[in-house]
Amino acid sequence: MTGFMRMLPLLMSIMLWLVIFALWPDQSSSETSFIVWINITLLVILSAALLNYGVRLLRQQKERSAGSGLRAKLVIALVSMLLIPTSILLVSANQMVEKGMDVWFDVRVDTLLDQALNLAQGFYARVDSDLKQGLITAMNDDELRSHMATLPVSYSLLNTRMASLMQHEGWQSIQIFDLNERLVAQVQSEGLSGLESEALEEEAKSTLTLGLVSTKLITRDNEEIAVGYAPLRAHQNIVGVLRAKIVLPTGVVKNARAVEADYRTYRELERNRQSIRSTFTHAMLIATLIVILAAGIVAVGFARRLTSPIGDLARALERVTEGDLTVSIPSAPEDELGSLVDSFNRMTLRLKQNVEALEQTQKELTGALDSSRQRQYVLETLLANLQTGVLLIDASGNIRLLNQSMRELLNLSTEWVPGRSIASLCIGRLQLVCQFYDELCHQEDENLQRELELTVDHNSLHILARGVKLSGAGSAGFSGYLMVLDDVSSLAEAQRHRAWSEVAQRLAHEIKNPLTPIKLAAERLQRRFRKMADDTEVFDSCTHAIITQVERLQRLIVDFSDLARLPKPKPETVHARDLITDMAELYGAYSRVHVEQFADDTLCYCDADQIRQILINLMDNALAATEESLAPVHLSGGHDLNMVEFHIQDGGSGISEDAAEHIFEAYFSTKESGSGLGLAIANRIADEHNGNLTLLSNANPTHFCLRLPMEEPSMEQS
């Protein structure tokens, strides 16, 4: 709806106020028609209603009230439909009245009425004139005066004369009163029915007193009578008064009075011509205003009835838009709008049911999602904290999932990320993983288990690999392969160590017992039979060899025993500098041994004797490796936040790659005379101290690093 349409009631109200001011009665006007005040009242009511409606329309526009625009249009249209013809009718009627009044008050009518009145007046004037003339004739009649003056009065003669005069003048009665106002004689045409005497009027008394002829018109119910009085003189003295009466013709009187009444009415109308016009205009205006007011009320009611369901619909739609689906329009007329309302109610009901179903589904899905997230969280946490390496590969050979333990276990590069093909990543030392994967892919069984020997960072790992094919209903539509890798190196080493320990103990027990008698026998032979030998040199050489080898076997047996019964470490906090100092003093004789002390006083939580054993083992190995080349051997100390480090480096020939993978295994030695237990024992001691012994570089220089904790590890760490 346009702004002009909404402003229309206000504009009309203003216009009506101007009309009110125009119609307001002038203060100078003495009389104000009541009808004007009715009009003003109606106009005030109408303009107030329009003002109220206009303000309401503007407010509804501001509030965006539903259906207000349509309602206003309907009201304005309906009122306008009635206002225009009514206004035209009002103007036309006014014009017609104007024209009609011009015709009614035409000058010819005016003249005609004047002439008619003059005619009537002339008749009455003539009657009056004739009556006066007759009275003058009678009062001057000598016979009549002589009869009055002669005493005693001859009534017969008097009456005869009076009758003669009455007949001559055309009077209906003639009476003679004496000076005492007593009726002396009377003659009348009406006969005996009218003999009752009438009292003299004031005019008659004036006639007696002043001696003048006078007339009077007496109006009665059915007739009008002209009465005249004349003095009767005798000898210059008034002796009586003559009263004559003429009854005016009824028809003439009636016509004359009708003319008078019409004249009076006409003149009244003429005088009130403007008032009549104004009254008519105001009457028409009243009718127009009442019609407009009624039309406005009917239009407002009709528009409200028509637009009420639309407004309800709009409001309900707004609520539905805001998400309130409980809205329902209670009632509606049984027409198209009612049908629309019913459809709307059904629609909201269906929407509500659908939304409830959706909400229920969403709730279930949310629950399932939460459950799934919880499971995923548990699974991720499990995978993250699992010591076992887990690798999930889809059917196309791409990595789908990889946990941290798998990365750490195999020391995987950063290229191992989900989405990459495992075939492109399994190179070098990891080819065994690929082979395991290929075997899993191509075998018919669902499960596969293999033990793999992998070298990671120069450490040989014993991996227990298990694989499962994921397919079918149990995998929820996912097909692929799950590989689980466990580092069982420790377990394998422990098992191997235990086996070797048992063997060593058995061997030591079995070998140790005969060695001592052999050695004693060889020494006895050397003491007692040396002189008896033909070739002393050979004898000495053989017995010495027996003794030497027995001693070597005894040492070997001691080593075996040590490996089998390595004592539990008794750690305590020691100064790491002291350990380096001990080594410096021990190997001070070797000029190629270079010792670099700790930069600060670093503490170390360890069993000092066992650590010295490791360091001596490592220093001996380094010196042995450089025995020929006389390359320098470096012993240095360092630390990080938690761990103390002992670095032993030598410039010897180094350790081959293959040997480096097995260097910490028991009974593996690159030396002909080595038992292969030194580094194994050292590694085990380091492990039991919660530290580690690693080969950082296998050549140029050959670099071993012993890492030990600075402080006593907590229970959790341990």
Binding site: S30, F34, L117, A120, Q121, Y124, K216, L217, T219, A256, R257, V259, E260, Y263, R264, R267, E268, R271
Partner: protein, 150 residues
């Protein structure tokens, strides 16, 4: 306005008031004209509305007889009438009050102020003393005087 009183009655005299040409024209054209005098007597109160003591309405009518060129003047209340020949005679009768008794003196208290207000209204056409006609008559105050009886 002249207020006089004797032992028993209060009288009011009002000089001839100005008559509008409209009324004289109406008489000339045969329309009856009624001069309505309304005399209101109130006890004056300084701090409240005046108390009405009495109210008298006098209606004097002139009925022109165009045929006989005379006028019948009468008191509309009591019906006493007489015929006069000219409009001036009629207006003299209609437009003034001469020593007209308006109130019994016993109704007034000595020493109390009373306000006497005279309203005048001319009505053209037939006179009616019905209540609706009286209610439509809006008189003009032509005289007002305050009296205090000794």
């Amino acid at each position: 306005m002249d207020i006089r009183y004797d032992d028993k009655v209060i009288y009011c005299s009002i000089d001839r008031v100005d008559i509008s040409d409209q009324a004289i024209l109406a008489l000339n054209q045969g329309t009856p004209v009624t001069f309505v005098w309304n005399i209101i007597i109130e006890e004056v109160n300084d701090y409240w509305l005046n108390k009405n003591v009495g109210e008298i309405t006098i209606a004097r009518q002139a009925i022109p007889d165009l045929i006989s060129k005379s006028l019948i003047i009468s008191d509309a209340k009591n019906g006493i009438s007489r015929r006069v020949a000219t409009i001036d005679d009629a207006i003299e009768f209609l437009s003034g009050l001469d020593h007209f008794p308006i109130l019994d003196r016993s109704l007034l208290k000595p020493g109390v102020r009373y306000n006497i207000q005279v309203q005048f209204h001319i009505q053209e056409g037939q006179f009616s003393d019905a209540w609706w006609s009286e209610s439509m008559r809006l008189g003009t105050t032509v005289a007002e005087e305050e009296i205090r009886l000794p």
